[in-house]
Symmetry: C2
Subunit: 220 residues, 2 copies
């Protein structure tokens, strides 16, 4: 019934600021200034700063996970319950990469916020974050169905490495650009997605299960 204007203005401002500057250096006063509302409004509408962050994170979690699962489900139905591993991986890392890379003006605040959340891990978020494991398990399941003769250990490592490459590339995109003197084009998002998916696919399908063969012996 209420106007809700102030409430959503706070949410939008907070998400923008957190996405840009991280949780560490954004104060309530920054948020209300950006939103153009009174300081007390945050506590009035959300109870506390932590609850504001939590609401932001929960909302975005649900949305992101739904998007990823939508792609995954479509892929599996398309293939009669068994999707190609590349498509699964693309559903896993594609949405996030697309949201966080690409030309400055078309980056999604939501995705950048989620990356921050996955990096800085402030207490209110950490408490919620455990549910994400269940979400990842669905992808692990799809990967297992796609590669039935691959061991569970390999599946999990492949999943881990796929997320690693996607997240790290986002986090360190500036450094990679500088290091490569612009040769690596982070604005060409689909190329980045293709690279990540390609390497992760190789990791998951390479050779025989030489998985644990060269380990302990190869120690220096």
């Amino acid at each position: 019934m209420a106007s809700d204007h102030t409430r959503s203005a706070i949410l939008a401002a907070a998400e923008r600021l957190y996405a840009d500057r991280g949780f560490g250096d954004v104060t309530l006063r920054d948020i209300v200034a950006e939103a153009g509302v009174n300081l007390a409004a945050v506590n009035y509408h959300f109870g506390s700063k932590d609850e504001l962050i939590a609401e932001l994170f929960v909302t975005r979690s649900i949305a992101t996970n739904r998007e990823r699962l939508r792609e995954l489900k479509a892929a599996e139905e398309n293939g009669g319950g068994r999707a190609p591993i590349e498509v699964i991986l693309r559903a896993l890392v594609g949405p996030t990469l697309r949201g966080c890379l690409g030309p400055e003006n078309q980056r999604s605040t939501a995705a950048r916020f989620m990356i921050r959340a996955s990096i800085e891990s402030v207490p209110p978020i950490r408490r919620i974050k455990n549910r994400e494991i269940d979400h990842l398990r669905k992808f692990a399941g799809a990967m297992r169905r796609s590669l039935p003769d691959r061991s569970d250990v390999d599946i999990y490592w492949g999943l881990n490495f796929a997320l690693a490459m996607a997240h790290h590339t986002i986090r360190e995109s500036e450094r990679l650009t500088k290091l490569s003197e612009g040769k690596c084009d982070l604005d060409d998002v689909e190329d980045v997605v293709a690279r990540v998916v390609s390497v992760a696919t190789m990791a998951l399908t390479a050779g025989r299960t030489e998985t644990n063969a060269p380990s302990k012996m190869a120690a220096r």
Copy 2:
């Protein structure tokens, strides 16, 4: 000339606390309590909190980089100026992984501190961190020598992915353990190193330069 006892006690305590709890929630008062010295000692010996952090980071940066370069140099001299790519990658990710993973009691505080620094990126560290690019460039050079017919872009992407897998695995080691229900053994450090090196090697040596072929077209 001076006793130096207080000074090094502060350094040790600060490193321990930062490694364990991150920069966000460690106050000067925590540090001096852990070190058993007076609050004013930090400002007396280091000037400011930021300078303390900076000194810590510079010291560890130099040490870590020296260790990595030592392995790299040895490998290249061993091969007459051209080291196998696996060995280069091992020199890149090995020291960090070994310091941050493995049984709890033998993890290096220094390495865990450096990981924190590479993640949280507090201002005094961010200012220094740009030099790391020069350090990575040395690895890029060695990789180029090892794979002379590989394009620069591919080299940089391979380097990026190798660091991605190493760092992400460290940062999310708990989650991977939980997700895999213990099937992924993060305590077997040499296995982890072997996996990361293996995947990164594949990324760098795979097939033809189909690197930028499937990119823009594949966009949905």
